[in-house]
Subunit: 624 residues, 2 copies
């Protein structure tokens, strides 16, 4: 029997008919998928038909928190947003934190499934079980920070939490994100999906409490988790103090901090300007998610130059890459201002920054000329040009129209020569880590169900040197298929489904995460799992997501890396000489598919594997 929060109340909203209804989450869905990404992908596979237009009314947008969201368990105020990605055509799933996820729970819902398409710009006002469809024509065009404040003012309740899109989502730019507070469900273009549905915002307010199945077990599990967090060597020290930008220095030292659209890794690494030391001058405060004792998220302020006084929550490490090293901009203030601009306009700073870096390389190589850029001098390092192009991307104007759908689409429009410089997998732009120097991480880019996504199977063993489940050599290809599977499954099971902060796993708790998740699940929901059964949830999710992608036509040939990473060795730094040759990638893929029990030739999951995970109906659907 489930307690309050986790019985799973699903709010289903049909924008076409302007109707809403609630339904209980079926017990087997709750048990098999836990929540968050698992629940999102379950409903995505089951309800969005093969070949659906990601920007059409058939696509759905699923907001799903985890069973611990809204409780006093730390680091659990997170939420998955899932839909078919317009950027990749594959599973689109991104997680966000902050306060909106907990507030949605307080309003009574574990998941919110958005269907159809509103006739006119609309926002949803969800208050303690009541749902209103309200005109958003007046909000159309507003930036995300303003949109949130305007809704609080208009609804006369400053405690409301809002998830919304900016101009980019409205224009269905495929690099558009969804913003709540200053947080983003950033990648895979889910803001464009929201825009395609004419849904500007979701405002939420709730006053209910999240039920706990067993208070005594709850307190014990929470204490145990807190104790383990305290024992982490970095969580409350370097990580809390510096947040993710501490990784600028680390990846710089490892020679895997990508720069200038991946043309100069290990050469242009302005760690002094953008790394940990430089943070002291710009960090002005920390802004934790609901109930988080770590508070890694830093508010930063531009101190000098034309952006003086501009603040952002972030940049996070990935944004120091995408808007910093990747564009050759080493100016703190400009990167902070660009990060803020991305948030306000509602574009993913990673994909949008990658698109700018891509265009800069083409401009320097003469593939894009001044006519194409509208006269913008788009050289690496030109901060003002970067900011202007980001604005144009969000508005789909000028060069921005070319870049607004990501580098893959842009390269296809520009022509063959450009494709070599388009750094993406399955259409999703690469994260910061130059995986030529971190092989399992590279395999994860190639195989992640969302495209080149560092967050679906982060190889902390290679980046941080944490020897769990075994010690690894980051340059070696041995057993990286198995490691990648472990990372993907454990990440899904202990972070993405229960919507626990991934930084816990990466920085402190990987060895005990499955057992901790099991203990928390029993305490909060009454469901009993072994640690192995928790990991099984991760495997189930990865198989179901893979099945979704297979149904959309994805297979082994799509599990690849940009040619540059397979042909150009790193020229300098801590990973000098490294690349991932096609043959080495192939060997890792063989190892990976074998570990997964998938067909090595096609990369597809077979019936036996699917049935072993309780996904027999998926095998029927795929006809395998």
């Amino acid at each position: 029997m489930f307690a309050g929060g986790f019985t799973g109340v699903i709010l289903r909203v049909d924008l076409t008919t302007r109707t809403s209804s609630t339904e209980p989450m079926p017990a087997d869905v709750a048990r098999d998928f836990i929540g968050g990404a698992g629940v999102g992908i379950k409903y995505l596979f089951d309800e969005v038909p093969a070949g659906a237009d990601a920007l059409g009314p058939e696509n759905k947008l699923i907001f799903s928190s985890g069973p611990f969201t809204g409780t006093t368990i730390p680091c659990a105020s997170r939420m998955a947003v899932t839909g078919k990605s317009p950027l990749t055509g594959a599973v689109g799933m991104a997680l966000t934190g902050g306060f909106f996820p907990a507030e949605l729970k307080f309003a009574g819902y574990d998941a919110l499934i958005i269907e159809g398409k509103a006739e006119k710009p609309t926002y949803l006002w969800i208050k303690d079980g009541a749902v209103q469809f309200r005109d958003a024509g007046w909000l159309w065009g507003t930036h995300t920070g303003d949109c949130q404040q305007l809704l609080k003012d208009d609804l006369k309740d400053q405690g409301i939490r809002v998830a919304c899109i900016g101009p980019a989502g409205e224009r269905q730019a495929k690099v558009a994100c969804i913003i709540n507070e200053r947080r983003a469900a950033g990648r895979k273009g889910l803001g464009a999906v929201m825009g395609s549905k004419n849904l500007k915002a979701i405002a939420v307010r709730g006053s209910s409490e999240v039920g706990i199945a067993d208070e005594a077990k709850f307190k014990a599990a929470r204490s145990s988790m807190r104790e383990e967090m305290r024992q982490s060597p970095v969580l409350y020290s370097a990580f809390a103090k510096l947040g993710t930008p501490m990784v600028v220095d680390l990846t710089g030292a490892l020679g895997i901090l990508s720069a200038k659209n991946w043309s100069e890794t290990g050469v242009f690494v302005p760690v002094e300007q953008l790394g940990a030391e430089s943070q002291k001058e710009v960090n002005i405060g920390r802004n934790p998610c609901h109930n988080c004792p770590v508070a890694c998220s830093q508010i930063k302020i531009a101190r000098t130059g034309p952006y003086e006084g501009t603040i952002a929550e972030g940049p996070e490490f990935e944004t120091y890459y995408s808007l910093g090293t990747n564009t050759g901009v080493a100016d703190q203030g400009a990167v902070i201002a660009a990060d803020r601009l991305c948030d306000e306009l509602g574009i993913d700073s990673m994909s949008a920054g990658s698109a700018v870096g891509f265009a800069m390389e083409l401009y320097e190589k003469g593939i894009l000329d001044s006519a194409a850029t509208g006269g913008i001098d788009l050289r690496f390092g030109n901060a003002e040009a970067m900011l202007e192009v980001l604005r144009l991307i969000a508005l789909r104007e000028g060069i921005g129209e070319l870049l607004a759908d990501g580098v893959k689409a842009a390269a296809e429009k520009i022509g063959d020569e450009a494709g070599y410089y388009a750094m993406h997998v399955k259409g999703l732009e690469l994260p910061a880590y130059d995986v030529r120097g971190a092989k399992a991480h590279g395999l994860n880019y190639a195989t992640s169900y969302t495209g080149a996504d560092h967050n679906r199977g982060y190889a902390f063993q290679e980046i941080f040197g944490i020897p769990v489940p075994w010690e690894v050599d980051r340059f070696s290809y041995d057993d990286k298929g198995k490691l990648c599977k472990w990372n993907q499954d454990v990440r899904s099971a202990t972070c993405d489904c229960p919507t626990m902060c991934a930084f816990l796993l990466d920085t402190s708790l990987p060895a005990t995460a499955p057992a901790n998740t099991a203990a928390l699940m029993e305490a909060v929901t009454g469901l009993v799992y072994t640690p192995e059964q928790i990991v099984d949830v991760g495997e189930r999710v990865n198989n179901l997501a893979r099945a979704f992608n297979a149904r959309e036509g994805f297979g082994r040939p799509d599990d690849t890396l940009p040619r540059r990473l397979m042909e150009e060795p790193l020229q300098e730094g801590g990973s000098k000489g490294q690349l991932i040759a096609q043959a080495d990638l192939d060997a890792m893929l063989d190892d990976y598919y074998t570990a997964r029990g998938w067909d090595v030739a096609t990369g597809k999951p077979g019936r036996a594997k699917l049935e072993s995970l309780g996904l027999g109906y998926v095998a029927d659907e795929l006809e395998v």
Copy 2:
């Protein structure tokens, strides 16, 4: 006996010693000055010594609401902010609306007197009678919108209301304002005073109710007021729909909408681009003050051009002048973006816009060259240049350093020739109305205790044609001294002291305002006034303010107008040929001083007048 709110609880905060205390407002102060501007000026006169440095610790900053603030009486959520003005050296008093004034009342305070100077950047956190002095080092440099949100997040209460300064106030730019929500205590440089005290912000939260002396009388007075508001021909129709920008059209038709630093009134009047008709495309919502049924304040959005998507609360009419017609910028989007920029940086859009227009005329006349502007092409109509100069003013950089202290100080630095183009009275930049075509309004510019301030004695008779207390010819000088006195006293008594919205007086209730104020006072505070005694409060306040200025050295020679208005007749439009010659101004001044019972030669109040108003101690102080 006074009821809850109006007994007058004063919170006194000493930033030097980091101590606070409360004291009751003395009964005679409450009775004689009501609240708001009256109370502010009373404490200013009594406690800030003659010759005090406006930016030194001797100056005080007094936040005072009215007795109805926080009740359900409409249009009363306002607050006066009073101090010695660094811009003029005279009384600095500006009113603001929104929610902060009511929240301060809910926290238990009718007035807040800030004294001394904090050693380091500080903010005040006032919650239900508890006062904390908190570090604001981390907030220093932030824009006003961000500052407010950061404080709500940091204090973990989204319902907090904040009044703060931006970068301009921190740098003590004398055109700096104080912002709460998106409202401003805009003029007279009170933001610089706050900055000089190292006070970044005041955060307030309260939960108490405002006491009512007589509930039955309260309901009757409130009903009667609401009924009268409903009978206004414009309040709930044109005014609620369009807000103050409706005055763009009106003043354009009258030929008194100033343009291009007052060089082209009646010629450059882009009413189509900036007037009522144009508002339909940019108004996206209304944002009432606490408990206001009218909601005149409009949220506007830039629809096209480089500022697309930028919103502002406003521009109000005066800002369409200062950042629009006055700078020759007829682009809606640019004016909206400039208004937002002023709010975020914490500069008064009126004074700062005037400074930009002033610099533009000097640039076009060759008095300021490209070296002086730092290469900015500061021609009339250059929107981008306007925005850049506004930013520089707030940061005191480049040409902004020259303009940050207003046009009077800038003209003095530039030299004699520039003085002719510096449009101000007593150092306060002129409002929009070209008073060459509205003589009583001109006399008010000349004599207002805050400098050229349209809000201290608004001549609605000349602008709107409302025949109260008598019908007037706007071009005539007859009886304008008496009219000006009436306007100043009634405005003080029925708006500035009870902190009732001035738009009520201007648009609907001038004839009955004193009686209404008396009825409301009796209902809320138990104090009984005749309508005449209410008006006496206004006269008392104007005399006390005049005495403050006299003590600072101001006299008849300072009651003047810029030479341009006395020498250049209007060239075209509905007031063609009009000016206010020195002789005509002198005649009006004679009439005015006589009506006021002041010495006609010096313009100073004498002992008899002061004693008749219960201000004998002021006569002693002035040695008159």
